[in-house]
């Protein structure tokens, strides 16, 4: 017993102070894309050709990158001879509206609040119980969803908790592209959640099918089966990206700024 106390003392207090303090991210972290189409030579499509998931589109004077499809692999960054694409350190990537995941050159990325409003906010703002369903994920998203339960992130302090049964849940958190073999189980789980219910799609797979988009074996994301209320992009998203999305939804994190606004 004494040993346990001694070890506890050694291990120290490990819960991060986010959102009150900015968290530390690794210098090589790849976050929100920054696009500068003014650098694009005429007719160049090097980035578009390099993208494994067709996340990029280039028109005459515009570049657009769909974070919902993006694997944040930076293959486009390496392919671009002009440095028109960069992945910034901005980890706040979650959005309520699918189209807002598309980053367009020449447009300012305005910080948009994620918080639920009205009755949903009143019901779920202080206590949000989520049932997690992996529907074909690779265990990357699953692992970094799970990690929010550790003492480092301590999701419970925001009133958010993963629960064992959909009957106990206010909504679903879905990972994976929704395989044909998981669609029925996912839909049944959704129907088992009492209304009103929300759905959170975590990761490129759950938003667009990710690397498996277009496969006969998958449906192409959570929205192909159920309505989605929050999209958290990444492959997998960093735990802080997921956390910021979740606590943003319940109004516990404000977005005063989103870095990576484009010129």
């Amino acid at each position: 017993m004494l040993n346990i106390f001694r070890t506890r003392l050694h291990q120290g207090h490990r819960t991060i102070r986010f959102p009150d303090e900015e968290p530390a991210l690794p210098p090589r972290f790849r976050g929100r894309p920054v696009l500068d189409a003014s650098r694009c030579p005429e007719g160049c499509s090097a980035c578009v050709d390099a993208c494994p998931t067709q996340a990029l589109t280039a028109t005459a004077d515009r570049l657009a990158l769909d974070m919902g499809r993006c694997l944040f692999c930076a293959d486009c960054v390496s392919a671009c001879p002009e440095g028109a694409i960069a992945l910034s350190s901005e980890f706040r990537l979650a959005e309520r509206i699918r189209d807002r995941l598309v980053v367009r050159s020449g447009e300012r990325a305005e910080a948009q609040e994620l918080a639920l409003t009205g009755e949903l906010r009143r019901l779920l703002g202080r206590s949000l119980k989520l049932r997690v369903v992996s529907a074909g994920g690779c265990n990357g998203c699953e692992a970094d969803v799970n990690v929010l339960g550790t003492i480092v992130f301590d999701l419970g302090r925001f009133g958010i908790q993963y629960v064992a049964s959909p009957r106990h849940a206010d909504g679903l958190l879905i990972t994976g592209p929704v395989t044909r073999n998981m669609r029925e189980a996912l839909c049944k789980t959704y129907e088992a959640v009492p209304e009103p219910r929300i759905v959170i799609a975590v990761g490129a797979c759950a938003i667009s099918g990710g690397p498996y988009a277009g496969h006969d074996e998958v449906h192409g994301g959570a929205a192909s089966a159920v309505p989605v209320d929050l999209y958290i992009p990444g492959c997998p998203p960093h735990p802080l990206t997921i956390l910021e999305g979740l606590i943003g939804l319940v109004g516990r994190a404000r977005r005063d700024r989103v870095e990576g606004t484009t010129p």
Partner: protein, 513 residues
């Protein structure tokens, strides 16, 4: 044939093609046998100290109907892999499983993927509930609809769990046949994560190939990406700079560290001992964050690329990683020692979920599960490729085959992996981290084995006349090990399932592909 030769059938040179791990040879050099001879070769493999790393179907000739079957035998004592193949005239194949149980799932896969009738298989059921790669079945498979093993009797009852589980884990279906609290049999039915990734890999290489490799099992990104790159580099005859090989090995050991530490914490949580569960939950992230220092991703996405690694380390980053690693090991060791020193934990770990050495050998179990049952199976030592040819690691073994053994092997490996990273990061070879990858040689086959944190990862790539893949086979260690979990549950309490399951911690997506 003499009497001695019939006891120990030594293959003639022409029976198999022997080659080192991570090499490629012309496909024509792989001996092609009659089905009966192929059958004898696989059945006799164990008596020659070989085990089956992969047995798989592939298109016999481009555009034709014939199905070929290839086998990869690992000769652990000789450090080579042996290849052989056969071509089927009819879509039938006599089952090898009764004589060689370790191929049971490979044969079921063969039947499901290629429509081959495996005659006499004792357990002919779907593996992933996927449609065959050729032709259309009369009735497409429906997930979870199959004939489950059932035990009848007045006091026997069935417990069915999944695919959606209580925890944050991947989907799978488990059926327990129980007598009171005692499990008589557990049947594991998977396929829910089947997303066509192996099929898609076979049409490469293309822009997505490396991303497929990185997500075959997302918690084994470095392991599978390294296996893929080794296979491609062998086919291309590419020379990977030593620094790139060293960084791959370091990243692979960091991946092992994160997962092993996380598993110790989860095992602790499953027996209700929360201190170590809490500490290791945090520490797992500390190791993942070291990988993120290397390449920006906690799971190693983007680190390993054909030709080498995409990222290098600076002296400052090396010092940073070494310092954090030392602190993490100190805390990990302290947290783990609580497990070994707490009687209530030990009484829950010991004698639970036992897999004997004999059963492990019969089932062809790999990785830490094999080592916890006293089997000397570790690709880093028996079939070293890449940097493991120059930097060695002792094999960590425990013989009791129970939950304790699987936990303690992890503990030993944590210490050894930290030593490895410390030493190799301090002695990194100079030069570039990546080199050019020439076009793949046509009509060649390469075999790539990597000791991922769960165990042996096997990738087999075959190129066609154009230099693109004609076939690509992935065997995740979980594919070998799921049946061992089912066997480990026999005679145990239903309530011990979470603990046993966690002690194996197998991959659903790596199995379902």
């Amino acid at each position: 044939m003499t009497a001695i030769a019939s006891i120990v059938p030594v293959p003639r040179a022409a029976d198999v093609l022997a080659m080192p791990n991570g090499a490629a040879r012309p496909l024509a050099d792989v001996p092609c046998h009659e089905v009966a001879e192929f059958h004898r070769l696989v059945v006799g493999a164990r008596s020659r100290g070989r085990r089956v790393s992969a047995l798989f179907g592939y298109p016999g000739e481009p555009g034709g109907d014939r199905i070929a079957i290839g086998v990869v035998l690992a000769a652990d004592d000789d450090g080579v892999v042996e290849l052989a193949r056969t071509e089927l005239d009819t879509a039938t194949f006599p089952s090898i499983t009764a004589a060689c149980p370790e191929v049971h799932l490979f044969e079921r896969e063969l039947a499901e993927q290629w429509g081959v009738v495996v005659q006499g298989h004792p357990w002919p059921k779907p593996v992933r509930f996927q449609p065959p790669r050729r032709g259309r079945p009369d009735v497409p498979p429906t997930i979870g609809v199959t004939e489950f093993y059932a035990i009848e009797g007045g006091e026997v009852h069935e417990v069915a769990v999944g695919p959606v589980h209580a925890g944050v884990i991947e989907p799978g279906h488990f059926r327990f046949q129980c007598y009171g609290e005692t499990v008589l049999h557990l049947e594991i039915s998977l396929g829910y994560q089947h997303r066509g990734v192996e099929r898609a890999l076979a049409s490469g290489p293309d822009l997505r190939s490396i991303h497929y490799a990185e997500t075959l099992a997302g918690d084994t990104t470095i392991g599978h990406a390294t296996a893929y790159c080794q296979a491609v580099e062998a086919l291309a005859h590419a020379q990977v700079p030593a620094r790139g090989l060293a960084l791959r090995a370091i990243a692979l050991e960091l991946e092992r560290l994160a997962n092993h530490v996380g598993d110790l914490g989860a095992l602790s949580g499953d027996v209700g001992f929360l201190p170590t569960a809490a500490f290791c939950g945090r520490l797992r992230g500390d190791y993942l964050n070291l990988t993120a220092e290397l390449c920006g991703s906690r799971f190693g996405r983007g680190m390993v690329r054909p030709g080498g690694t995409r990222f290098d380390v600076t002296p400052e980053l090396t010092a940073e990683i070494l310092g954090r690693l030392d602190r993490a090991l100190r805390d990990t060791d302290e947290a783990a020692r609580l497990l070994w020193g707490t009687a209530s934990v030990q009484s829950r770990f010991e004698d639970v979920g036992r897999v004997t050495r004999e059963v492990a050998e019969q089932l062809g179990v790999v990785g830490l599960v094999a080592r916890a049952s006293g089997l000397h199976r570790d690709i880093r030592t028996t079939h070293p490729a890449g940097y493991y040819r120059f930097a060695h690691l002792p094999v960590s073994m425990v013989s009791s085959g129970d939950v304790f053994a699987r936990a303690f092997v992890r503990y030993l490996e944590i210490k050894r992996s930290v030593e490895f990273v410390r030493r190799e990061l301090g002695l990194l070879p100079g030069g570039a981290t990546s080199g050019p990858v020439p076009p793949l040689r046509p009509e060649h086959v390469s075999v790539s084995l990597v000791e991922g944190w769960r165990g042996e990862i096997c990738h087999v790539a075959i190129t066609g006349a154009s230099g693109r893949f004609a076939a690509y086979k992935v065997v995740d260690p979980s594919f070998h090990n799921w049946m061992a979990l089912a066997i480990a549950l026999r005679g145990q309490q239903v309530s011990d399932f979470p603990l046993c399951n966690k002690s194996f911690n197998l991959s659903y997506c790596g199995h379902d592909l």
